[in-house]
């Protein structure tokens, strides 16, 4: 398939497409819809497939591609639609409502997290359809913050176990950026993108303030990569990239998965996991066109992200598991995390039109690690964000303006450039997803998400905002505007070493249910201050190795009869 003849690799400009994932070559040069959607494998509900995956996002999509290459027969059930970007997407901030998870959810706690467009996606490709595109790795320290810094939790796996998968996924996206000096220093397959004037001003301010910023890392092609188009720098990454320049499983893994026999069944919302008398899953119940279906499977993987995954485990309660699946010790839904993501914008004499770039341009991890000089543990990253007009209006509103002052700041849009933080907020048991009284269109209880910050969180966010103010001062900004907000979701079904303190083991297997796995952002015990998508994909890639090599003890039994 791949035209990369051995020996010629060195002659081809850009980054060679990995040999074990043909997605970039399978894309059509003239159309944005992914090929194979009409001709892909179809399984019957009563066929026992080797694996059913709930959710076609970062975790589910990557896992499907990897295992399909090893011959597993897989059905991915996705609640949302199968996109055709040419037909379904618009390059417009308000017109992309349909790509977000907009079914009802309830939020609470002392610092509620507003969801909607700022959280999960709905549709084939999952939340990476509208993620910004930053693809940093976690630092090695993220995997043992409890023993190193006395906060958070230790993962049951170490950074070194993910490193080969980070490298592999970075080649598949492919990631563009400067050589990365932080964490485990590494280089990227594509060179850094040219930066816009808006990011240049921020970089100069940081330089004067003694802070290092680097260009990247972004999952946006910057050169030749199969049939993936180049970025055209028009700033709509958070509204879904109609160009296909921005990486998401939709373009990086699902074409190859489909070519290797995976069925992606869209508009199929899973409402329950089903069991036999022995406590093994037998498949799932899902709704398609208002009709209830059952898909049989030898193994079930839940990959619905940090709110829907715990909700599905809780909603699957039955006589055998009265408190929900893997929830004997009341762990499901706990330790949900977000990152503190305040943004401070700076104003300059010249116009920059900050929308003339992908929002993710440059970042700094200078403040990532715990620093004894500061009064809190762990840290934050600094990144450019590039709000479009509605995002900019929310920013101005949050700074306390309405009426004429608001309109004036809005008219001034062209003169502003915006930096954001991702502050590591600590995992806490009471930050959790539970079931609300209210039900959704399928009659299932919706999720309630409670969120409250702790003192360390508040100190981290406050310190970070002062650093941003300092950068703009150094850059001689004429004015600043600030908004407090959150970004990203992880946790809720964390991996660990015992059922008393976690939901899944280091192989993503639900405690007490041998053929049920969780493979998405919800398994993370901590979140660092890196954006999570690359790590979610790397975890899925690692899980595929573990399952495919049959190194997950009982998975072998779970998939007996499968032609692995």
């Amino acid at each position: 398939m791949s035209p990369l003849v051995p020996g010629l690799g060195g002659l081809i400009k850009g980054s060679p497409v990995p040999r074990d994932n043909d997605s970039a070559w399978l894309l059509d040069v003239h159309r944005r819809g992914i090929p194979g959607a009409d001709t892909m494998a179809r399984y019957h509900d009563h066929d026992e497939v080797d694996m059913v995956i709930v959710g076609a996002g970062a975790g589910g999509g990557t896992l499907a591609q990897r295992l399909a290459r090893r011959g597993w027969r897989i059905v991915v059930l996705e609640s949302g639609p199968f996109w055709d970007p040419d037909r379904d997407w618009v390059s417009d901030e308000a017109g992309q409502h349909q790509i977000y998870w907009t079914a009802p959810r309830v939020i609470g706690g002392t610092d509620p997290v507003q969801l909607g467009k700022n959280n999960s996606g709905h549709g084939v490709g999952g939340s990476m359809i509208h993620y910004a595109g930053y693809t940093p790795r976690f630092h090695p320290s993220d995997f043992h913050t409890r023993s190193q810094d006395g906060v958070g939790a230790d993962w049951p796996i170490a950074y070194e176990e993910l490193r080969p998968h980070y490298e592999r996924v970075e080649r598949e996206l492919p990631v563009a950026g400067q050589d990365w000096p932080w964490g485990d220093p590494h280089a990227y397959p594509h060179a850094a993108h040219p930066v816009s004037g808006a990011a240049e001003v921020a970089r100069e301010g940081a330089r004067r303030a003694g802070i290092t910023m680097r260009v990247g890392p972004v999952g946006i092609t910057n050169g030749v990569f199969g049939n993936r188009p180049h970025c055209i720098y028009r700033g709509f990454c958070l509204q879904a990239c109609k160009v296909n320049a921005k990486a998401s499983p939709f373009v990086t893994h699902l074409p190859d998965a489909i070519a290797h026999g995976v069925e992606i069944r869209a508009d199929s919302h899973v409402t329950r996991v089903e069991f036999d008398g022995a406590g093994r899953c037998t498949g799932v119940v899902y709704m398609h066109d208002g009709v209830e279906h059952h898909q049989r499977a030898a193994a079930v993987v839940v990959a619905g992200y940090s709110i829907e995954t715990p909700r599905l485990l809780l909603n699957s309660a039955g006589p055998r598991f009265p408190d929900g699946l893997a929830n004997e010790h009341d762990q499901v839904g706990r330790y949900v995390m977000v990152q503190g993501a305040p943004q401070v914008a700076g104003r300059f004499a010249q116009t920059m039109h900050q929308y003339k770039a992908p929002p993710p341009e440059i970042s700094s991890e200078d403040f990532y690690e715990t620093d004894p000089e500061r009064d809190f543990a762990r840290g934050f990253t600094i990144q450019t964000v590039g709000p479009l007009p509605i995002g900019w209006a929310e920013h101005v509103l949050a700074d306390g303006h309405w009426g004429h002052p608001l309109r004036e700041y809005m008219r001034d849009y062209a003169h502003w450039t915006t930096l954001g933080l991702l502050c590591e907020l600590l995992p806490q048991p009471e930050n959790r997803v539970t079931l609300a009284q209210e039900t959704d269109a399928h009659g299932m209880p919706v999720a309630h998400m409670s969120y409250s910050q702790c003192e360390n969180d508040r100190a981290n966010i406050a310190y970070g905002k002062r650093v941003l103010e300092h950068i703009w001062e150094a850059a001689e900004a004429q004015d600043t505007l600030t908004i407090d907000r959150y970004a990203h979701l992880v946790g809720g079904c964390r991996m660990g070493t015992s059922p008393e303190t976690s939901v899944v083991d280091s192989d993503h297997r639900a405690w007490g249910i041998p053929n049920l796995f969780v493979c998405d952002g919800s398994v993370m015990p901590t979140q660092g201050s890196a954006n999570p998508a690359l790590t979610i994909m790397a975890l899925a890639s690692r899980l595929a190795d573990r399952l495919g090599d049959k190194r997950v003890g009982e998975a072998r039994a779970a998939t007996a009869g499968a032609h692995v």
Partner: protein, 233 residues
């Protein structure tokens, strides 16, 4: 009068009263429409670039401008109250106005909601209704009274038994701003080039060499009368 936006002295934070200069002093829009016909970029009309957009996006924006839906969700009394309230919070004190009330109404009627609500709040459509009820009579108040009510609403200083006032402010303002700043007339006012697909941008660096072809030009330093005379000469 000459405008210069270089120094930033026109910005509310940099002015003693925290109020911007009267927008009537801004240039009149010459190309396309802006809300109230004033703006920074008098010769910029985003819709003039529509033939360069992909057909689906083009249709979305054309319909947004052309089709003003009639209210189905708010009754007449609510429309009067909320219409007056939205004019104040969005500073739409004259025609042409972006029909934000109708746009919000359509969203509520269609149930196109954001997918979450605070556990101490009703769903958004009900929040809007309750806000309308609490602000009843707003349309009949004087400018100064209206301003004072909105100031207290924005600061969470009102006392409403069945609504958390700060959250209600956030719900209605985010709702209103999402509509206002989705409208191509607002793009014209702030110099936003909209879809830019499939064309994209070419020059993106700082300074004069970073100005892209067709980039909206700010009318700072121009005397509108003299400028117009020059243009028509």
């Amino acid at each position: 009068m000459a405008h210069s936006f270089q120094t930033g002295e026109h910005l509310p934070h940099n002015r003693p009263e925290g109020d911007p200069p009267d927008p009537q002093g801004l240039p009149r829009q010459r190309a396309g429409v802006t809300p109230q016909m004033h703006g920074r970029f008098p010769d910029f009309d985003v819709m003039a670039h529509r033939e360069h957009w992909d057909p689906v996006t083009r249709r979305t924006l054309e319909e947004r401008v052309a089709q003003v839906p009639a209210c189905r969700f708010f009754d007449e009394r609510e429309q009067r109250t909320l219409g007056a309230f939205l004019d104040v919070v969005l500073a739409q004190d004259s025609e042409p106005r972006i029909p934000v009330l109708q746009m919000v109404d359509k969203k509520m009627a269609d149930g196109k909601l954001d997918g979450y609500r605070f556990d101490d709040m009703p769903p958004d459509p009900e929040t809007w209704k309750r806000v309308a009820r609490h602000l009843d009579g707003f349309a009949e108040r004087s400018d100064a009274e209206q301003h004072e009510v909105v100031r207290r609403f924005s600061g969470g200083e009102l006392d409403w038994d069945d609504l958390n006032v700060s959250r209600a402010w956030s719900v209605v303002m985010r709702g209103a701003l999402s509509e206002f700043y989705s409208h191509p007339w607002a793009f014209n006012e702030i110099g936003f080039r909209g879809p830019a697909y499939p064309r994209g941008y070419m020059r993106r660096n700082m300074g004069p060499t970073g100005v892209d072809p067709d980039e909206p030009q700010e009318a700072f330093g121009l005397d509108p009368v003299r400028d117009l005379q020059q243009r028509s000469a």
